[in-house]
Symmetry: C2
Subunit: 347 residues, 2 copies
DNA sequence: CTGAAAGCGCTTACAG
DNA sequence: CTGAAAGCGCTTACAG
């Protein structure tokens, strides 16, 4: 790699002048002739500036970092991380930004590694689904000097937090309202991980919808869990045990699963217990994991994770360039996808 | 971020001394007392060195670049790129290296961007399946100063090229020998993209196997194509047209598809033409795209792309650290996976 | 309109 | 055993 000094020598100017010309800094104050000479010399030598030298001199690196915590062996096949990363990458590719991946085993490891994120490599950070229970976001926020960052798949409230996510409250409300509109009055909630921001928000949407419809909220039919199929299986079993014999009549006529995965587990378990879906019980999910959801006829609330990734990339770019201010929120509107797993309450 | 100067001030030594202690350079020549004082000061201040400053001073960046060209909209779902990236990432994660993704639309764009790869960000590069027809590898090789790089999914011959790949010649030979062992004597070859190194190699394996068995090589039943299902469909059609009427008897009794995707296309087309598989024609692929190959009962030659990614990561790390020398080759042994799409030649 | 100088935060011979 | 100095390749006030 030729250095700026060689260009300077070649063009018979000082390195400072080369820098100004190539960065279009002193634009007006440099003679056309010199500019031409510099550009031509740079071209001839095949000069390309050292990004780390520019970075050290205080310029932008044109690189952003993506922080993900996952303990699974596969990143690319994760139903959230995969599409989300695809979305981010599609934008950075197009904007010709470098992307540095910070792959962490978990958020504790990420917390330990914050110094590496801020060591000069990157202009900003995208955190994919940090957990609300985890201090990483607060630590990052109080970091000096401040490294711009956006939260992806997380839309907690918080001073100066930039968030890109599904509008989870609306999604929870929409799912619940759909069931209510079909005449259901006892609607179970199969929750996801308690440490995900989305879980609280979807739950809030659920309660809001019940309240608006004047329906009672019954904590007995709210089932904590995780965002995986096993949790759907487990909670159907729990519900089945709970509403047996005399209690049989109290059994919910619909289940709002906080994710499609949970719903798939629930469908499987319902089949095992010979509870007919949808005549005996309706099921709705959130996500629209398209292929599978379509195959199984799951009514669900769609979110486009890929597009969330894209919007996050755009927001982070804006943040790093100072074009948008921290605190910007971009929540994707949910969309109801009607299939066959939800039907009107059978009298 | 505190700088090395603050640590120096805190420990009442010079910055140079701090550097030596923290990098364990002058280890022996620095008093235990000073070492302790420096470490303690660094700890107290929460010092973390600037990676770009170290890079500029000639140290390793602990970051490697991954170059991929893809025009599809999704990287993570690509059947080769996805698992390969997963494999690479799993190693870098464990080795605590940063990974910078260079996402290119195509290899021409990659060629243009070589200066960015070598601008100080990375210690080395992994190129995922560069095309043999493309000058990027030669350009990279003649670059000064030289940036270490490995070829992933490409094992062309070439002075000083470090390659990690499936042993494609063996794979081609194994597939063909399997068919020969079943009594087949007219074996069609459905090739992949001509600009992939693997295509030539698999083809070589095919011809080698025929030669070893004393079978004639017939260019009439070698079908150029691409590594996609459509190509399998298209080539069955071509073959069908070719061996109709009087020529009917010359039709191959087996097809060696250079990828599973091609094989899936071929199976589909055979069904359409009412050619019964496997009794009328046997089909073998390469890859073992497990779920689908299993569903369709495809006999195939397995390669573990994930493990190729992992080996590539390890090789690149070794190369960047100077522990292995350019020219190192690591070829994965193929493995025959028997299913129902190949049977003994029916008399 | 252009250049000399200082500085970004490190490391590494070289002196002492 | 430790420090002062030069250098990595840039940019940016500041002079002139």
């Amino acid at each position: 790699m030729a250095s700026i000094r060689e260009v300077a020598a070649e063009a018979k100017v000082s390195p400072g002048t080369v820098s100004k010309v190539l960065n279009e800094r002193g634009n007006a104050s440099i003679s056309r002739a010199t500019q031409a000479r510099v550009r031509e010399a740079a071209e001839r030598i095949g000069y390309h500036p050292s990004s780390i030298a520019r970075g050290l001199a205080g310029m932008r690196m044109n690189a952003i970092g993506v922080v993900m915590a996952y303990d699974e062996e596969s990143l690319t096949s994760d139903p959230y991380l995969g599409p989300c990363l695809d979305g981010l990458l599609s934008i950075y590719k197009q904007e010709r930004q470098k992307v540095t991946l910070f792959l962490e085993q978990n958020w504790d490891a990420a917390l330990q590694n914050i110094p590496f994120y801020g060591d000069g490599h990157c202009d900003g950070l995208a955190l994919i689904i940090p957990r609300t229970t985890h201090p990483i976001v607060d630590t990052l926020r109080s970091q000096r000097p401040h490294l711009p960052f956006v939260l992806v798949g997380d839309s907690r409230e918080g001073e100066g937090l930039t968030c890109i996510d599904l509008d989870n409250v609306s999604a929870g409300r929409m799912a619940t309202e759909h069931l209510i509109s079909l005449g259901h009055r006892r609607i179970a909630a199969f929750q996801g991980n308690a440490d995900f921001c989305s879980n609280d928000q979807r739950f809030k949407g659920y309660r809001d919808a019940l309240a608006s419809a004047g329906l009672p909220y019954d904590p007995e039919i709210v089932y904590p869990g995780v965002y995986f199929a096993e949790s759907g299986v487990e909670n159907v079993r729990r519900m089945q045990k709970q509403f047996t014999g005399d209690n049989r009549s109290g059994r919910p006529s619909a289940i709002f699963c906080f994710s499609d995965s949970i719903a798939f587990g629930a469908l499987e378990a319902l089949r095992k217990y010979d509870i007919h879906m949808p005549t005996e019980i309706s099921v709705i999910g959130i996500d629209d994991l398209t292929t599978t959801a379509q195959q199984r006829g799951l009514t669900t609330i769609r979110q486009s994770v890929r597009s969330i990734g894209q919007r996050a990339a755009i927001a982070l770019l804006g943040l790093a360039r100072g074009e948008i201010t921290p605190g910007f929120r971009d929540l994707q509107l949910p969309e109801l996808v009607l299939r066959s797993s939800t039907v009107a309450l059978q009298q």
